[in-house]
């Protein structure tokens, strides 16, 4: 994550993961996000900052929030958007990832926002192309903009993450949201506790700056924020949990369990929720739930990321021409 041009605005040439970023990088992005949040509240929520630039969303996996919010963010900055989704492409004819990337690049994409089921795909693509690459979720690895918008949402409600006690609850093993979240929240000074059955935790947690608990009821009384992960329904077929019902009984945030949270504790969820599985519908809709704030902040954070990648660092060719 460093900028080859020497102007460090928190994001380097690509945004591939929270790993490798420092606290000041994250804070820089969150500060810039504040400015972009204001644009969303204007009567005409659009600025000409990235006119003539093209943002391509390249999604090999389904997504509602991430893709729409990246595209909304691009439009609010007056950038053009290209959309690639695996379902309606020539992938079925055997087109390779590299071909796909080169085709999209040849249509003038300045940023590739990539989601792929394989960890490391965005890193690989970044080696192939001179466009900026944003990781919008790679396998079970990272989802950096989700962590940024979560951190921004927490900061918006609490001022700072320093000293906050945050539990991330659910399928940590398969969750890129959890991995990026752990890194971002702890960099920003929060204490993170992972709450999950052993089968849903990664085999080695030695390097993770976290505490681990297998009992949600044990930790729930002292939390400042409770981050519920989506329970992927197919997991019980893999034999990782006995049944969804048992998972819900032990790790679901029911209305009764939510009452044991401290009064001002926040409830987060990356969406889409499985009502009645990891979170009860009435808890998701409760006042202390900031799930809809997360969705709204997603656009502001992604505006900041796109602008920092494209607009904040001088293009050497353009500078040479102007001088």
């Amino acid at each position: 994550m460093n900028s080859s041009t020497g102007w460090d605005h928190g994001v380097g040439r690509h945004l591939l993961g929270i790993e490798g970023m420092g606290r000041s990088d994250l804070e820089r992005i969150l500060e810039v996000t504040d400015r972009f949040a204001e644009i969303g509240r204007r009567p005409i929520p659009k600025v000409p900052a990235l006119r003539g630039r093209t943002v391509a969303s390249v999604f090999f996996e389904d997504s509602t929030r991430t893709r729409l919010s990246f595209e909304t963010a691009a439009r609010r900055l007056s950038a053009d958007t290209l959309t690639f989704t695996a379902g309606s492409s020539s992938l079925s004819k055997g087109e390779s990832l590299r071909d796909t990337v080169e085709v999209i690049r040849s249509y003038g994409a300045d940023v590739l926002v990539i989601r792929h089921g394989m960890a490391g795909t965005p890193h690989r693509v970044a080696q192939w192309t001179d466009a900026a690459v944003v990781n919008a979720g790679d396998g079970c690895h990272e989802h950096p903009t989700q962590a940024l918008l979560d951190a921004y949402t927490l900061r918006e409600h609490r001022g700072a993450l320093d000293g906050m006690s945050i539990a991330i609850v659910g399928d940590i093993l398969h969750s890129r949201v959890a991995r990026s979240g752990v890194l971002a929240f702890s960099l920003l000074g929060a204490e993170v506790t992972l709450v999950a059955p052993t089968t849903l935790l990664p085999p080695s947690l030695e390097d993770w700056p976290v505490r681990v608990s297998h009992d949600l009821d044990d930790v729930i009384g002292s939390l400042d924020a409770c981050y519920m992960l989506r329970m992927q329904r197919e997991r019980h077929d893999d034999g990782l949990i006995p049944s969804l019902r048992e998972y819900t009984a032990d790790y679901g945030l029911s209305a009764r369990r939510a009452e044991r949270l401290p009064k001002d504790a926040l409830i987060l969820h990356p969406g889409p929720t499985n009502p009645g599985v990891e979170i009860a519908a009435e808890v998701a809709a409760a006042e202390r739930s900031v799930i809809l704030d997360q969705v709204a902040n997603g656009v502001s954070v992604r505006m900041a990321v796109l602008f920092l990648l494209l607009g904040s660092v001088p293009d050497p060719d353009a500078v040479a021409e102007a001088n």
């Binding site: 900052a49 607009g311 001088p314």
Partner: protein
């Protein structure tokens, strides 16, 4: 943005070295009061006025102007601040990061907006500000007040109220701060 700040950012860089103080704080105070009188005279009062300071250099001057208008008329016109960074035409030519807030009064339709900046140079900041203002509403008129007009316009833009006309060389830098107005150059 104050000109000195922008000149210190890459690809320019360097340290500001002042040659001469062309106005001191008292001079600036007198200029603000005169401009306040002119604004009231031209607009037949302050009923429809909204004073808008451009971030960051124009904001303290806009605050002084509002205070002077209040002294004369007995009430304050609404004050807004505007950051034009994202409307600039030199995005990609220099590092542009929106640092400052935009906060304008809700209703701009039909009002007379007085944009306030510290230094008027090429006119490109004002061009950006005109675009930005139009995203917030349709004012009846937009006027421009600046502490220093240093010439070298690159766009057909002129100020309505000027604190001081200051002939400069293109490579000189004008710095407006709380103590006064300095003319100097950037040294590497």
């Amino acid at each position: 943005m104050a000109e000195r700040e922008r000149r210190m950012a890459p690809p320019f860089g360097g340290v500001f070295v002042a040659h001469a103080r062309v106005m001191n704080a008292d001079d600036m105070g007198r200029a603000v009061r005169r401009m306040a009188h002119e604004i009231i005279e031209c607009n037949h009062g302050i009923d429809q006025l909204v004073i808008v300071g451009l971030q960051t250099g124009g904001v303290p001057i806009a605050e002084h102007l509002v205070a002077a208008l209040e002294d004369i008329e007995g009430r304050r016109p609404p004050l807004g601040v505007l950051d034009v960074a994202l409307h600039r035409d030199d995005i990609g030519l220099r590092p542009v990061v929106p640092q400052a807030t935009t906060d304008l009064p809700d209703e701009l339709d039909g009002r007379i907006i007085v944009l306030v900046d510290d230094v008027l140079f090429t006119g490109r900041t004002i061009r950006a500000a005109l675009d930005a203002v139009c995203d917030f509403g349709r004012p009846r008129a937009v006027e421009l007040a600046v502490m220093v007009d240093r010439g070298h316009r690159e766009l057909p833009i002129r100020p309505d109220y000027v604190g001081k006309n200051l002939p400069t060389r293109r490579d000189e830098v004008v710095d407006v701060n709380a103590e006064g107005v300095d003319l100097g150059v950037m040294r590497k």
